[in-house]
Symmetry: C2
Subunit: 269 residues, 2 copies
């Protein structure tokens, strides 16, 4: 058997989260370390109807911020930002919070007092497979295990009003991740599509980044050790569609899959 290309984290009644790989219409459960030694463990189960979870909870959750020219321009115009100051001169990494992660199909829950302009950012998520320090851009791809999709949900009112991104980008459920980790992806050919209620609202070439994944990994690992399971979300392009309770938002990246989440409003005061 060749190495599996599609890895899921999933849950069945009465058992905690497990990993498995997709084979045809089935999930083949594994035991051991997804990033190291593993073996088949247990009977295959149908992929359809399985409860998929965020495919990884990263030890550290990295985010590129503005990393596409189209988003840089539209964000600056929409929010009245200074174009020069907003331009990402170099691949400086930011962070997101593990506490905000949910899986495919999970609800994005809008806090009752969130300002009206909540937007979705469809982003490629890189999953690191090997410990990496002082890695060159030329070697960077060897340290990537695979790719998944992140919706970097952003409450713009809070984003520009608060000192940090705590509730703007890291409120509970604001970081859907999934649906799985895909290996063997041809980055150059990827296209990202962001849809709300089935209507495509933004389409962009996924690889059209200001700073490439390899450049980010090289810059980051000069100072930071990446470890297996770390996730880097690569930014979004163009205009970010607004969402509200009742919507369903889907981010599809051809060759990876689609991350789909309903939007509801919290009933907590």
């Amino acid at each position: 058997m060749s190495a599996p290309d599609r890895w899921v984290r999933f849950e069945t009644a009465g058992e905690g989260p497990r990993y498995g790989f997709v084979s045809g219409e089935s999930i083949v459960p594994i035991a051991g370390d997804l990033f190291g030694e593993w073996r088949r463990a247990g009977e295959p189960l149908p992929l359809a109807g399985a409860r998929l979870l965020a495919p990884v909870i990263p030890p550290t959750f990295y985010a590129c911020g503005i990393n596409y020219e189209g988003h840089w321009r539209t964000a600056a115009e929409e929010f009245g930002l200074d174009l020069q100051r907003t331009w990402p001169r170099s691949p400086e990494i930011g962070y997101r919070a593990q506490s905000a992660i949910v899986g495919p199909g999970d609800a994005i829950v809008l806090p009752s007092d969130v300002p009206p302009n909540v937007q979705v950012e469809g982003e490629l998520a890189v999953v690191i497979g090997k410990r990496a320090k002082h890695v060159s851009a030329a070697e960077a791809s060897e340290y990537i295990f695979g790719y998944t999709i992140c919706n970097d949900v952003s409450a713009r009112g809070w984003q520009f009003q608060d000192r940090t991104f705590w509730r703007a980008k890291n409120s509970d459920t604001f970081k859907p991740l999934g649906p799985w980790i895909q290996r063997g992806v041809d980055l150059a050919s990827l296209v990202t599509r962001v849809s709300v209620n089935g209507e495509v609202r933004e389409t962009f070439r996924t690889a059209n980044m200001i700073h490439s994944i390899a450049d980010y990994i090289a810059a980051m690992t000069r100072y930071i050790t990446l470890v297996p399971g770390d996730v880097i979300i690569m930014g979004t392009d163009g205009h970010c569609p607004q969402i509200q309770a009742g919507d369903t938002v889907s981010i599809e990246i051809e060759g990876i899959g689609a991350l789909t989440n309903p939007v509801i409003r919290s009933d907590a005061p």
Copy 2:
């Protein structure tokens, strides 16, 4: 036996990290969940000479930023910041990176190209013990498992030059944490002392915060679910001593302990 007050995470030759509690001059190893069900497991070993690790790797690592009036004033003056804009009007939380955490005694490794002004920030670290959402300030203490100490090492050159705190505060080894988790602490009586090479350089009342721990937990859990093991570092007061390779820095909080780390320079280019 009454509930243990001092918890360590430690490592012995040939075994991975384990938890234990301190009893007299010994560590009593446990199996199970520090924050839930646990039992004694194995023979006690001497505390002296044990290799202590960072006492917890938080699922999410929270940081208050400026949270003492003295540090607000000195930082604004030293770095030419606007006093009004820097004042933390409300308890908005920030983040630090798990990747930067090291334990007591581990070296703080200065990257070869770090700008000269690297400073230490001595901070109380709150360790969460129970899942917390929509918790009031009055109830907040019930969700705290105990306290440890963090050195929020900060490369000021990068802090004010970069768009994020990635290498300024999150370079590898820049977040020493430890030496243990202390329970049964009287917060009101705590005093923090920051020493470099044995000389006390800053002393402050630990509880003299702008926004209290309870206020932070109440504000955070309006939007964010805290889980057992999460860490919140509470900020520092006064002036932050500068460090360089060859120094040894120690942060002592009376009633908790002392977190001591040598400073070296990376030999990587």
